[in-house]
């Protein structure tokens, strides 16, 4: 080998480099313009030229070195192919173990379940030009659990056809396609990640044939469902996102609760309901319905007969929270911050999260046979129910006040069979009288095919459910998105509408709350050893070695 050709030999490596550059450029842009093709041609040219130049000398292909070189190339290619195949298999059949304490990188069981049970192919279309890794991770996690789950990131400005099919008008919209149904999941602002909760709820919703209906009773000074000061518009929006249909209900003009009611909510009524309305609700409950009562202090919704039947006692005293935790968030003593919850599916995974109830009343219960009552929301030790709010000093007065912890909310359930017999006769209009016996219920349900789950529930284990909370403000606009308020609200509705097996709202994964409390001595040890001792020891050793080498 002459010296000259030795350096020329290195130039041959330019060939493969150009080849790869051309390939990547072509693949990245997705179109084979002139530049990548020029790169490819030049790269190939250099390789061929090199082979001829170094091979042209002295019957190249007969030399032993060439054979050895060819062997080496064949062996290398075979090696790469084998490793490629192994990796292909490894990707196809991936096993993952999530060692993080709270399974931060694993889908919640609800999401896993819903993807496993998909009956038809479901595709998530994310109209995001530059997908962020977290979103890709999340969707890849979903697709690991079910064959029927697919996803694709699309740039709506390039794939105009697809974007038009979904009528995309903003970048960052996420759509579901299930059979012939299309549904918006989220509209992401730049940098916002896709949320597992939204996606799973949307998947649950898109699979339902009939949306369960939530009726909010109106006409007694309740907050409106529209966006207004203290209205329920956020609550309604979040319910609709979770796959419910929400409608106002004026019982006075109907005389009976509509048959398609999943839940009837009496939220923040300021004036009493008339007895006819109350008895309509009682009849509905006797037939296995569900009611959601949000009753503020200093109001009387006139539900006494119903409350008595369920053993609910409304305490007129206002809950005072003297723990001072609320002051950080700017809340006074009449806004209790709750961190303790009962043992119930609604609050199962709240741990010690916070929910906030501005101006709340205590709820108490009497034992009633056949009714299961579970406390949901429990205030702190440093709270009490204050009878005299007018006084200058808020302080606990053992004579008239009730010491904490206090219950602000309960969940009740009652099997339909044990319905008390003395139910008020249903109002006169025959046509709208709800069926009074179980048999008739199952028949009409089977005919109407109203939400399958409810039908199954009613057949297997019919029970009436009721949730009573001594505050309605927590669910109004502006308060709903505080801390866990929305979770509590949605989970209550899920449980009441008997959808709780399906999609109890999933809470975002949260890491363990851990601190490092270093003593000053330990901090000193770390400081000195990391910055001085260890590097110095290394230097000294290096010096010694160098000295010995000399």
């Amino acid at each position: 080998m002459s010296k000259k050709s030795k350096y020329w030999r290195y130039l041959i490596w330019l060939g493969p480099c150009l080849l790869v550059a051309g390939l990547i450029a072509g693949l990245v842009t997705g179109e084979w313009t002139v530049l990548p093709i020029i790169f490819l041609v030049i790269g190939l040219g250099i390789i061929i030229f090199g082979l001829i130049t170094f091979g042209g000398a002295k019957n190249f292909f007969a030399r032993r070195s060439t054979q050895a070189g060819t062997n080496a190339i064949v062996a290398s290619v075979a090696l790469v192919v084998i490793l490629g195949l192994i990796n292909f298999l490894a990707v196809r059949y991936t096993g993952r173990i999530d060692l993080t304490e709270n399974q931060l990188f694993t889908l919640s069981p609800q999401s896993q379940e819903i993807v496993k049970n998909l009956e038809q192919p479901l595709k998530v279309w994310a109209f995001v030009p530059t997908p962020n890794p977290a979103d890709q991770e999340l969707l890849a996690r979903y697709s690991r659990y079910g064959e029927n789950f697919e996803y694709e990131f699309v740039d709506p400005q390039i794939e105009v056809g697809i974007a038009q099919r979904f009528d995309v008008n903003l970048i960052g919209e996420i759509y579901l396609e299930y059979g012939d149904k299309k549904q918006l999941v989220q509209s992401l602002s730049p940098g916002e990640p896709i949320s597992e909760i939204e996606l799973t709820n949307a998947i649950a919703k898109v699979q339902r044939d009939v949306l369960p209906k939530i009726y909010f009773i109106q006409g007694h000074g309740e907050p409106l469902l529209e966006a207004e000061q203290g209205g329920f518009s956020q609550a309604v929006a979040s319910l609709e996102k979770s796959g419910y249909e929400v409608e106002p209900l004026n019982l006075a003009s109907l005389a009976a609760v509509p048959e398609d009611a999943g839940v009837v909510a009496i939220a923040g009524a300021k004036r009493p309901l008339i007895p006819g309305e109350v008895s309509a609700i009682q009849t509905y409950l006797d037939n296995g319905g569900s009611a959601f009562l949000l009753i503020d202090p200093n109001t009387n919704p006139g539900l006494d007969s119903l409350l008595q039947e369920w053993g609910i006692v409304l305490d007129n005293r206002i809950v005072i929270d003297a723990s001072g935790t609320g002051s950080v968030l700017g809340f006074g003593p009449v806004t209790p911050l709750v961190r303790d919850y009962g043992n119930h599916p609604i609050v199962a995974d709240f741990a010690n999260g916070i929910s906030i109830y501005p101006l709340a009343r205590r709820i108490d219960t009497n034992q009633v046979v056949g009714i299961t009552a579970t406390p949901l929301i429990v205030t702190s030790e440093q709270s009490w129910a204050e009878s005299d709010v007018e006084s200058e000093e808020l302080e606990f007065n053992p004579a008239s006040d009730v010491p904490g912890p206090l219950n602000l909310g309960f969940a009740f359930s009652r099997p339909v069979s044990s319905t008390p017999t003395q139910t008020t006769p249903p109002p006169e209009t025959e046509a709208e009288t709800p069926p009074a016996t179980d048999e008739e219920i199952t028949e009409t349900e089977a005919e109407d095919l109203e939400t399958e789950e409810t039908a199954n529930e009613a057949e297997n284990n019919p029970e009436a459910r009721l949730v009573a909370i001594g505050n309605s403000t927590f669910a109004t606009d502006g308060w709903l998105d505080e801390q866990l308020n929305q979770d509590l609200f949605l989970n209550s509705v899920d449980w009441l509408s008997k959808q709780d097996e399906k999609s109890l709202s999933i809470r975002p994964k949260q890491p363990e709350n851990r601190r490092i409390n270093l003593t000053p001595e330990k901090a000193e040890i770390i400081f000195w050893s990391a910055l001085v001792v260890v590097p110095l020891l290394g230097l000294i050793t290096a010096g010694i070695m160098w000295w010995r080498r000399r």
Binding site: V91, T100, L104, R515, A523, A530, G538, M545
Partner: protein, 265 residues
Amino acid sequence: MRVIIANIIAIFRKELQGYFASPLAYIVAVIFWLIAGFFFVPSLLGPEGIIQSVAQRDQLGIPGPPIDVAYEFLRFFLGVLGSLVLFLLPILSMGLYAEERKRGTLELLATSPLTNWSVAVGKLLGVVTFFTFMLLPLIFYQAIAFSAADPPIKLAVPLVAHFGLILLAAAILSLGMFISSLTDSTILSAIMTFALCLFLWLIELVANVVSGGVGAVLNHISLLQHYNNLVQGIIDTSSIVMLASYIILGVCLTAISIEALRFQR
């Protein structure tokens, strides 16, 4: 089989003794310790460090989302080490074969009765062991810091994270060893190794732009993603297989290139 293992151990011991007697290896270790220390101390103890900033948040009493200081710090620090290893390890791997070439001992190795790949495995084991020695002080600092964690930390995630770091280092060193066997210039071999690793590190950026099968392949080739999986505490079989593939690829290519060298004359 026993002969082969004995050979590997013999090479491994010779290499290891070489490292512990070489000033250059210590200098690399010192640089590594210094830079790692400069990241470790301020980001943990400094006024802008994680302990201080979380303590301030707690004092204000803002009930924010829970934060796992130990876990956050582990992820941050091992992320730094991952990038640091990328710069420093080519210096360790550059001499693996290039030195032998210089000294003219490569022909001896190539024609010795030892199989080429067992030499390669022995050399790789030696340099990975030296890297593990370099990690020891850092593990010591972390042990002190995490011993003060409240509630006490579970060891699974830190162990997997450090295992991932050693696996990443082995992959880089293995590829570096192959490049070192191609050339007799140590500097060139270091630069080439660094460039190759940087390419494998950053290929993910390209992969994110390319959609479809090619994108998925490029994404899988990227070192960064697999390393991050392990650092976060996820044991993903495909990540481990990919990193192991790099190690095997480096060793086998080295063996093939030495084999071909016999007939280069």
